[in-house]
């Protein structure tokens, strides 16, 4: 691609030509150093902006979250407890490892889409959809062996002696049967959905 016929091309074509041409005037060292720092800037900027979407304030900036699940979560032990340790929305709902986090963030574009469609913009709509939404989260938790729970909780460091009798027994049984947290701990941070009766693997708690 020579410079002489650049005039006949569009702006995009000329830019492409400029990109493909070997650099004549710049030292390889300059290119490397500039490239290195630009890389840091872009990569840092990318991660920084992703982190901006990964905190509680961002999550509850949508009223679907603030009016429903957030209010329920405020009543639970993951919000307020004896020691003051807290788990915020992304601690449970966004994976910590990078690849899985990106995958979840891409999926979240579907949530944005439904926010703008107004799929859940009233309490009634939310309640009607709650069972489906809850089942989605339970399914993912089951598939990942409750990965997000295990960021903080693990059987290895669990002192059964400190637990109530009924928890001791159940936790030992869970280890033996290779169960995962979400198998029993459903509805711990948000209300259980109506129609939970007959859901596979859930003891009958509905009317």
């Amino acid at each position: 691609m020579s410079a002489s016929n650049d005039d006949n091309k569009s702006t995009l074509g000329r830019f492409w030509g400029w990109l493909r041409r070997p650099s004549a005037g710049l030292a390889v060292g300059t290119l490397l150093v500039v490239g290195f720092f630009t890389g840091i800037l872009f990569w840092g900027g990318f991660n920084w902006s992703m982190e901006m979407t990964n905190n509680e304030a961002f999550c509850i900036s949508c009223h679907e979250m603030e009016d429903n699940v957030y209010q329920e979560y405020r009543e639970t032990v993951h919000y307020s407890n004896r020691t003051g340790v807290r788990a915020t929305c992304p601690d449970c709902h966004v994976p910590k490892s990078w690849i899985h986090k990106i995958a979840r963030k891409i999926q979240a574009s579907n949530e944005l889409y439904h926010h703008f469609l107004g799929t859940l913009d009233t309490r009634e709509k939310y309640e009607a959809k709650r069972l489906t939404l809850a089942k989605n989260v339970w399914k993912v938790m089951k598939e990942t062996d409750s990965r997000e729970c295990r960021n903080c909780h693990s059987f290895e460091y669990m002192d059964f002696v400190e637990q109530e009798k009924r928890s001791q027994g159940s936790h030992e049984e869970a280890i033996d049967d290779n169960m995962t947290c979400i198998d029993c701990h459903k509805g711990i941070a948000h209300e259980l959905p109506a129609g939970i009766i007959g859901v596979d693997g859930v003891p009958n708690m509905g009317n």
């Binding site: 009924r166 027994g169 711990i188 209300e191 259980l192 003891p203 009958n204 708690m205 009317n207």
Partner: protein, 150 residues
């Protein structure tokens, strides 16, 4: 007519004297406000919270007493959508959970029809069942268990 007026006058006099003497009795002990004897600029110490006792199950004080709950239930959801107590105490899951089954009377509708699920009128467990606690009686009383009376 005169008798009626006399009776009224006596009644009023009696009422006034009674009020005054009651007033006097209170004045002798010093007037007690809701804050008790604590001065306004002093902080009032809150009563201790009675914590649920998660040890052995307490025995009932009388035959019909709803059994007390020997564990915490603070975060349990009991509403129109779900009842987390049922997760362990409803039949048949109570067998695996090794938990007491809710009474058979709770599977009978108010009109006497036997049901295969807990009756709606028995749905809200904590209307009758409360976590047990070693709380002291708020008011001194002479309650004696019916078992001790036999």
């Amino acid at each position: 007519m005169k008798t009626w007026m006399k009776a009224t006058a006596v009644a009023i006099a009696v009422a006034v004297i009674t009020v005054m003497s009651v007033d006097g009795a209170i004045a002798q002990d010093g007037v007690q406000s809701l804050r008790g004897g604590t001065a306004l600029d002093e902080g009032l110490r809150a009563a201790d919270i009675a914590r649920p006792n998660t040890g052995k199950r307490f025995t009932r004080n009388y035959r019909q007493q709803p059994p007390l709950i020997p564990h915490r239930i603070d975060k349990y959801q009991i509403d129109l959508k779900a009842n987390q107590c049922m997760g362990c105490h409803d039949w048949p899951q109570n067998v695996d959970a090794n938990a007491p089954k809710i009474s058979e009377t709770h599977y009978v509708s108010p009109t006497g029809v036997r049901l295969n699920k807990v009756s709606g009128s028995r749905w809200f467990c904590n209307q009758c069942h409360v976590p047990q606690s070693l709380a002291k009686a708020l008011v001194p009383n002479t309650f004696t268990s019916s078992n001790d009376m036999r």
